[in-house]
């Protein structure tokens, strides 16, 4: 039995039966990480000792018959989650050496179940990026083709799952940061509704858009992970106190007479032909399963990217003000006064893209420009949200591509920020609307790269998109694994 190839739900059966221990699973994953991650660069930090200790606790708990759904499951966390006693950097030089004194809520909920954390995952610095090339720890390589990007910002989270270096991972999604890398790496990634999962302990990029979500090998694993982290948290004023459905239990409810919307604004020129073909084929599959396909319109889609880059950067410019070297992380102090300490710390600590977004956001909030930029963007955001509200009057789920193209080459867009920003054109509107969506593998390009489809649900209807995805997964066989072990070492 190849332990790292198992899904979480398969591991649970083996752990319950006692024919596999958490320690054995953890060992297998740690071995695989050591073998492969030199080529993928998904991990920033491997927490081997803590993982083995956690596995021991999990095995004890399993023996005592007190196992929770994720007890003993080897997971990994995007380095945006603060972890008590474990260095957390957000892939930034400015936070190197920062060891948080506390766990965030999502992490704490997994820890309570005695899930095993293998390490902290690579990402775009402060979650700003669509290719995972903006990392102080170097880019993440796509396990399907190490010359290509893994996507971003949760590139490490997607690549680790795709390369079987973790059974499941947590990422965050501000404009597509879970879904886009999930699509590029051929795994399932879910961005829950804003307020569904607590943001407490997640280093903020854009507070009104950030949301925590799982990445996993299949839909059922995704449902299991979401179940563990979803729900109201008194420590996050924006978390919502609504009942959480039993996601794994409702997966098999099917899609018969489900109305699936096909928004015309998402099938544009510039959409890769392979992607378009895969999405249309997926629609066919659903029609075959008894769903009704409805043509709909989301008329303000065109404005989403511009709107996003005003709101997200405005919030980021303020959220990142606390990184100034006074209390934690890197300080660059040459003894020439407070202002110079601030300047030097931030000049050296932040990467180029982070600086670009801080400047953009600072400008958008400046006196005299606020109305024209930030306030106008908020109005556009309302229109985009209303687009979805209207569409969900007609349909239950909206199906779109996740990204206009499969994974692009490393370096291809890094010098063209605008083009890079456009790779999130289909995912950003969902964050602006605050609703939920997932990315599900639905085929391959001619070049053998995975393609993902996006299923967008009504606010707090995670259950619906999960069962919709499950029906597709059950009806098709797209769950191939990357040709990693035989791949040549990536060119650095």
């Amino acid at each position: 039995m190849e332990l790292t190839a198992l899904t979480i739900h398969e591991m649970r059966k083996h752990l319950a039966a006692g024919d596999v221990s958490a320690a054995e699973l953890t060992d297998a994953f740690l071995r695989r990480i050591h073998e492969l991650d030199g080529r993928i660069n998904a991990f920033i930090r491997i927490t081997e000792n803590q993982a083995r200790e956690a596995a021991e606790r999990a095995d004890r708990r399993l023996r005592e018959g007190k196992a929770a759904p994720l007890t003993g499951i080897p997971l990994a966390l995007k380095d945006i989650f603060v972890t008590e006693g474990i260095e957390t950097t957000c892939a930034s030089n400015i936070l190197k050496g920062f060891v948080p004194p506390y766990d965030g809520t999502a992490v704490a909920r997994l820890r309570e179940q005695d899930a095993v954390f293998l390490g902290k995952l690579n990402m775009d610095e402060f979650a700003m990026g669509s290719s995972n090339e903006n990392s102080a720890f170097g880019p993440v390589k796509n396990p399907w083709d190490p010359n290509r990007v893994a996507g971003g910002s949760s590139g490490g989270s997607a690549a680790a799952v795709a390369a079987h270096m973790a059974a499941g991972t947590l990422g965050t999604d501000t404009g597509g940061s879970i879904r886009q890398p999930a699509s590029h790496c051929g795994v399932v990634g879910l961005k829950p509704t804003y307020g569904r999962v607590s943001r407490y302990g997640v280093i903020a990029y854009a507070s009104s858009l950030d949301q925590v979500g799982p990445l996993a090998r299949d839909v059922e694993d995704c449902a299991l992970l979401l179940q563990a982290i979803a729900g109201f948290d008194a420590r996050d004023a924006t978390s919502v106190d609504l009942p959480v459905a039993d996601y794994p239990a409702t997966l098999k409810n099917g899609v018969k007479s489900l109305r699936i919307g096909r928004p015309k604004e998402y099938f544009i020129t510039g959409l890769d032909a392979d992607v378009a073909a895969a999405i249309n084929a997926a629609l066919e599959v659903y029609a075959g399963l008894g769903a009704e396909i409805v043509d709909i319109s989301l008329p303000h889609t065109d404005y989403a990217v511009a709107c996003y880059y005003l709101i997200a950067t405005a919030e980021a410019s303020s959220n990142l003000a606390r990184f100034e070297g006074v209390r934690f992380g890197q300080r660059v102090d040459r003894g020439d006064g407070l202002l110079e300490m601030y300047r030097n710390t931030r000049a050296q600590g932040f990467g180029a893209e982070v600086k670009r977004r801080i400047m953009l956001g600072t400008f958008a909030l400046s006196s005299g420009y606020y109305d024209a930029y930030y306030l106008k963007a908020q109005k556009v955001r309302t229109l985009i949200r209303e687009d979805f509200t209207a569409a969900f009057g007609q349909v239950d789920v909206i199906l779109t591509p996740v990204a206009p193209t499969p994974a692009f080459s490393l370096g291809e867009k890094i010098d063209n920020p605008l083009q890079m920003y456009l790779s999130d054109i289909f995912t950003i509107p969902v964050n602006l609307a605050g609703t939920c969506a997932l990315s599900l593998p639905c085929g391959f390009s001619a070049g053998g790269l995975p393609i993902g489809m996006q299923l967008i649900g009504k606010p707090f209807a995670e259950e619906t998109i999960l069962r919709t995805a499950y029906a597709f997964e059950a009806a098709t066989a797209t769950a191939e694994r990357p040709p990693l072990p035989s791949a040549e070492p990536a060119v650095p």
Binding site: Y102, A237, A321, T362
Partner: protein, 481 residues
């Protein structure tokens, strides 16, 4: 020449709220703890931490708004005020900007001339305090940051520019101070910085329609300094204009040692705070029911107290105002009246001996060694004739020093007044007999001698004879002779 000008003054007050915990986390607000001991990831501004609003803070803000006749906004919004400073852990202060919780109220003050004047309140909003920097000294090359204060809830109360003199500004500030202390939402301690004031001051020619350019005065931490700083600033601005200069918009720091204000930063150097709604917090929704609830629970405010003291308790307006000026003193007085229902008698002792005793010992009402119950008990013994007013002074001092009740002291020291007319008659007879000459003078019409006899009788009784009985018996006996 200077009377051609009038000053225009508005005040911005920051009042620290006396909630048990901070505005966005569960840390204690207690003053004087070791540096950085009252902190957590939230008030330290650690990455990933999020603010959650303390409901008590909103209730306190509603109290302040109701007491100052403001409209309470059904929906108000927290905003971030962005600037860098080491005492501000997040790089922004969570405050309220476009949509504060209270708008458009007023307070009434009495001017020096005795007239009543209404001072408008533009707005009241909630915000978090910053930490404190401790500078070890010039040239040390470093400073300490204490974040115990970071996140303590503040009310910022902004007045309209309705004041025209430093005296009016002080009267308004005292009124506001009295109000927040009465409401139990601020301890009003100016030295510890729990009640802080900035003043916006400008001057213009009398009758001019437009305001002059204003200067904002900071660092004025006593009522006396407020008067001093504003008076200095008015004079400075008038002198400047008179000499052909112009006032520039700037922030000026008051130096209490030299009594002058000095430029801190000009308008050009002013921050662009880039306010925007804080996405970590949801709008504050205040229902009409909640407002009613707070209104019902509102403590009686000075005006209402003065009215009640004058009407229900029959005190003079002057006495009522003196007692109601300080909530603790008014409560003390009322506790006294609760024991013995003689408001005027109790008031006289509270305003006289109690205040004198507190002043001499430098104590607050709360720390008064004499309980209002004991004081009420003593006034009761005066009124029922057990002791005279004169003996009462002895009893009062003894109560103050020992904490014993009046009855116990009267008993232990044998201070009970002699009301037995037989005993007094005996003394009177002896005194008249011993002073036949004066008795004759009295009978000859020299009324003044009567006082001499009273004194002699009281002396002979060691002050314990009932003065009224002494009077009556003396008059009777002298007339008989």
């Amino acid at each position: 020449m200077k009377s051609r000008y009038e000053a225009v003054i508005g005040l911005e007050v920051h009042a620290q709220m006396t909630t048990a915990t901070k505005i966005f986390c569960g840390c204690s607000t207690a003053f004087g703890a070791p540096p950085n001991s009252h902190t957590c990831p939230v008030c330290l501004g650690l990455p990933g931490a999020l603010p959650v609003l303390n409901r008590k803070v909103v209730e306190f803000a509603i109290r302040a708004g109701l007491a100052s006749r403001c409209t309470i906004a059904p929906r108000s919004v927290f905003a971030r005020k962005n600037y860098f400073y080491p005492d501000l852990p997040k790089g922004y202060q969570i405050s309220q900007y476009e949509l504060p919780i209270c708008i458009g109220g007023h307070l009434e003050i009495e001017t020096k001339e005795g007239a009543r004047k209404t001072i408008g309140i533009t707005r009241i909003h909630m915000e978090e305090d910053a930490g404190k920097l401790i500078h070890p000294g010039e040239g040390s090359g470093y400073s300490h940051v204490d974040l115990n204060r970071a996140g303590i809830p503040l009310l910022e109360i902004v007045s309209e520019p309705d004041m025209r003199s430093a005296d009016e500004a002080v009267a308004y500030l005292r009124k506001l101070h009295q109000t927040v202390v009465y409401l139990g939402i601020c301890d009003g301690n100016l030295e510890e910085g729990s009640f802080r004031c900035d003043a916006n001051v400008s001057v213009r020619l009398q009758g001019a329609a437009r305001f002059g350019t204003r200067a904002e005065l900071k660092n004025i931490n006593s009522f006396r300094f407020v008067k001093q700083a504003i008076e200095y600033e008015i004079e400075r601005q008038i002198d400047l204009v008179e000499c052909g200069g112009t006032v520039v918009q700037e922030t000026r720091l008051f130096d209490s040692v030299s009594g002058v204000t000095r430029s801190m930063r000009s308008k050009e150097e002013a921050h662009d705070y880039r306010y925007f709604p804080d996405p970590d917090l949801v709008p504050v929704i205040v229902s009409a029911e909640w407002i009613d609830e707070v209104r019902t629970a509102l403590p009686e405010l000075p005006e209402a107290k003065i009215d009640r003291f004058t009407t229900a308790l029959n005190l003079s307006r002057q006495d009522a105002e003196l007692l109601a000026a300080d909530r603790a003193l008014a409560d003390y007085f009322e506790a006294c009246v609760a024991v013995h229902n003689n408001p005027k008698g109790c008031a006289n002792w509270v305003m006289g001996e109690v205040l004198r005793g507190l002043n001499e010992s430098g104590l607050s009402v709360a720390a008064c060694p004499l309980t209002p119950e004991n004081l009420g008990g003593m006034v009761a013994r005066i009124d029922d004739g057990t002791i005279s007013g004169k003996i009462a002074k002895t009893v009062f001092q003894e109560m103050w020093d020992s904490g014993k009740s009046a009855d116990r002291i009267i008993e232990e020291k044998g201070l009970r007044q002699v009301t037995d007319s037989g005993a007094i008659e005996g003394i009177v007879d002896e005194i008249i007999a011993a002073n036949a000459e004066q008795a004759a003078q009295y009978r000859a019409g020299k009324e003044k001698v009567f006082g001499f006899f009273v004194g002699q009788v009281m002396k002979a009784s060691k002050g314990k004879a009932n003065p009224q009985a002494v009077n009556d018996i003396l008059r009777h006996k002298l007339a008989q002779g």
